[in-house]
Assembly symmetry: C2
Homo-oligomer: 527 residues x 2
Amino acid sequence: MNQWKNLDMLKSYQEIRNHNHPVDLTRELAGANGAERVARYQIPMAAGLVYNYAAKQVDDSLLQQLSNLAEECELSGKFEELYNGAVINTGEKRLVLHQLTRGQLGNPVTADGTDKRVFYTDQQVKIADFAKKVHSGAIVNEKGERFTTVVQIGIGGSDLGPRAMYLALENWAKKNGCFKMAAKFISNVDPDDAAGVLADTDPEKTIFILVSKSGTTLETLTNEAFVRDALKNRGLDVSRHMIAVTSETSPLASSSDYLAAFFMDDYIGGRYSSTSAVGGAVLSLAFGPEIFSRFLQGAAEEDKLATEKDPLKNPAMLDALIGVYERNILGYPVTAVLPYSQALSRFPAHLQQMDMESNGKSVNRFGEPVGYATGPVIFGEPGTNGQHSFYQLLHQGTDIIPLQFIGFKSSQAETDVLIQGSTSQQKLCANVAAQIMAFACGKQDENRNKNFAGNRPSSIIIGEQLTPEALGALLSHFENKVMFQGFLWNLNSFDQEGVQLGKVLAKRVLAHETDGALKAFSDLLNI
Amino acid sequence: MNQWKNLDMLKSYQEIRNHNHPVDLTRELAGANGAERVARYQIPMAAGLVYNYAAKQVDDSLLQQLSNLAEECELSGKFEELYNGAVINTGEKRLVLHQLTRGQLGNPVTADGTDKRVFYTDQQVKIADFAKKVHSGAIVNEKGERFTTVVQIGIGGSDLGPRAMYLALENWAKKNGCFKMAAKFISNVDPDDAAGVLADTDPEKTIFILVSKSGTTLETLTNEAFVRDALKNRGLDVSRHMIAVTSETSPLASSSDYLAAFFMDDYIGGRYSSTSAVGGAVLSLAFGPEIFSRFLQGAAEEDKLATEKDPLKNPAMLDALIGVYERNILGYPVTAVLPYSQALSRFPAHLQQMDMESNGKSVNRFGEPVGYATGPVIFGEPGTNGQHSFYQLLHQGTDIIPLQFIGFKSSQAETDVLIQGSTSQQKLCANVAAQIMAFACGKQDENRNKNFAGNRPSSIIIGEQLTPEALGALLSHFENKVMFQGFLWNLNSFDQEGVQLGKVLAKRVLAHETDGALKAFSDLLNI
């Protein structure tokens, strides 16, 4: 049995605390052995990706201590417990099975009387079948016309992950002849969101996907009503235009209002649902089920790597350990995610939810307050855009922000232009290489305004091209990193009680059951 | 003459340090006087907006101390110096004149032999004239067809601000019959950015705006070449499809390659250029010059408010002072910007640049290291989306993150749906009111997992509707807040030396003039 202990109860953690001399990157990386360090401090990932941590403030001695920490904290054992179906979500008393949507990592997991792997693959098969019928014209609109567009209605995990994945593969799919339908997304309860999307969409040729696990998410039901009104106003039969992705026990599951319904369950958290039916329906419709399968394949391979006991062979685990070192020993409060790929423009927003909603907690998995910092703030924008925006603070601000770069050798569209002796893609890659070194090593200048202190740590994940497999591997890497960090901090990373209070108060405002300051704010906002 | 001193040299700052007992919001706001506090702690802004700071950790005594700080730091005097044309950008020895693009705040400012206000308004008139000709069909493409789309090519300030402003008004313009042309943006040197935009655009009916102050920004020139190739491949005459926004001294200014050229100058920083020709060309083409004028009008009125000496009548100044209190006395490292308006989806990304590039510095305006924290990390997403994402950490994480809410009583499209007794817009507003109170007052619960500590401060800007005037006022508010914070920290907020080192190293990579770790990283990325 694994021991679930707070981070500061672990001997190996206290050893790191007591013997900490952060590595000086301006010496380690700038010196003669810099190239050797770059070659040595990296781990192969799935789908041809590589995790390189040469620009992190670690050395062999610290890596040994982090390995000890991984062992004492039983990270591998806890992951094993998770994928074999233990109740890891202690707050809600639920299993945590998102890895099972893409592969069988351990023993068969039975819950609710079903083999859950069979349940998830069944849904994938049903979705694939549905998508193929839409693409072939076996399922058409009232006039017998083919559907051209799919609009996902969902919020949080039903929006951010699927949207980020769609944007990540849109241009790749166009280039590779597997772009089937354009996808759009409605999420915000702000009526201008739905109005804006509908203004640019032909509803006659659109399939709407209503995504809500419980079938009770207020924003999503409101937007569904908004869309239903718009469809009815155009004389359309809503049940021919709308499908549901929900749990089998939700009120939506058996409604005749939908053309079809596909299922996930309580063991898939919203922020981990991109590889379930939540991502599966929209991505299979947009790009075809084969592409969605390749995405799952990449994630499954990367999950397998995450079962490695040795952190030096397990990129997600090592990334997690270094992150905890940066957060708890070095005291860095924020991490920036910086993909040098326009296709990953919303990937940081997805990681922001995945990470901050999972580990932004002050109590451990037993509900006891913890005495150390937990999840950092996560933000990011694609490079090179960020270089012309907030990098000033990253380079010369008073706080140190660890950086997570992502880069690919080839572009997706593979259309390029040669300017001043190099292609756009070469410029893009040159910039990320240059930034790693600029942050790590800095530059002395007598003019202090032009001085760069250096020792601003980063890691980079490098791939050949952002393919479906590479995207799956990337997603899995960060999901598993966040999971391992949750284990290290002894948190339940799979509930989100922090979102409840606002919901309760909002209902009170709408029912006009308020007084004092809440009533005063409500009045100011004309509610 | 104003004295430019470091923050920690000011007596009033030391007094705040020494006598600091942060206000307990769970008492102040939850108590019987909560409503009175909400009514009292607010300041009217331009365009019908209101800045409410009742949920900030301040009381009358601290407000008095902050007023003393404003006076001792001569915030008003320094702003006066700035708008009267002093060399506030000490590093680059430049005036700082973005406020002058929208109004004459002080004396006429002459530079380069010109009255600069006349120069800026001349450009506005020229842009208006050009835009009207495009809209009326006096300027058409080779086939005599009207242009339907405008694509801005620029990065950093030439992208984030104009893009955020366009998105903010797109649906409003559609609703109000002044939507003239769709606007798109190409920024990233990643070739997939330009390829993606061009794939969805009909270049025959498109005007491209090349925006680069110096005319030498590598990303922008690369994307220009990418677009030129695409136009030529379709047999189009590039000079009939491309205009330039640049400085009069740039190589682009007099080139015959462009249909027209409009000018800004060195006194408008990129991140402050939305109200100059950089924003003016694209917004006037998209919505008509009248709408752009209304946007400037809102900014001008808000600038006027920023000249108020009393911070209790000057929202930008008070916001700045409270922010410094939170950053330097309370030690909060991050601020979140949370607009409850889907139209402001990219407004936080613009503020992220404006704030972090301006005040992410470690040396004062004389180039001497400062011994205190400066600009915080800024991030944000629209509500209610964020509630289903990172709010978990904001509510229950181990760090306190001050929050900047923005909300409007009416939506822009004014299309809505009644569900469970309330409209979408009411739900949106109810949520932001509820969140303010949830963050400030929290909720005691014996189940620590459901416990909310409270005392998480926020302010809110409330408006009737997001109109051009309201948007201008919002933009000006944050620009002036950042300016006042720069004065408080004694920084030069108007240069960005921190972006230079990366550029130098990237050039070296592209020239293959590297060794050691930089060569090793370049090799990994196949450059």
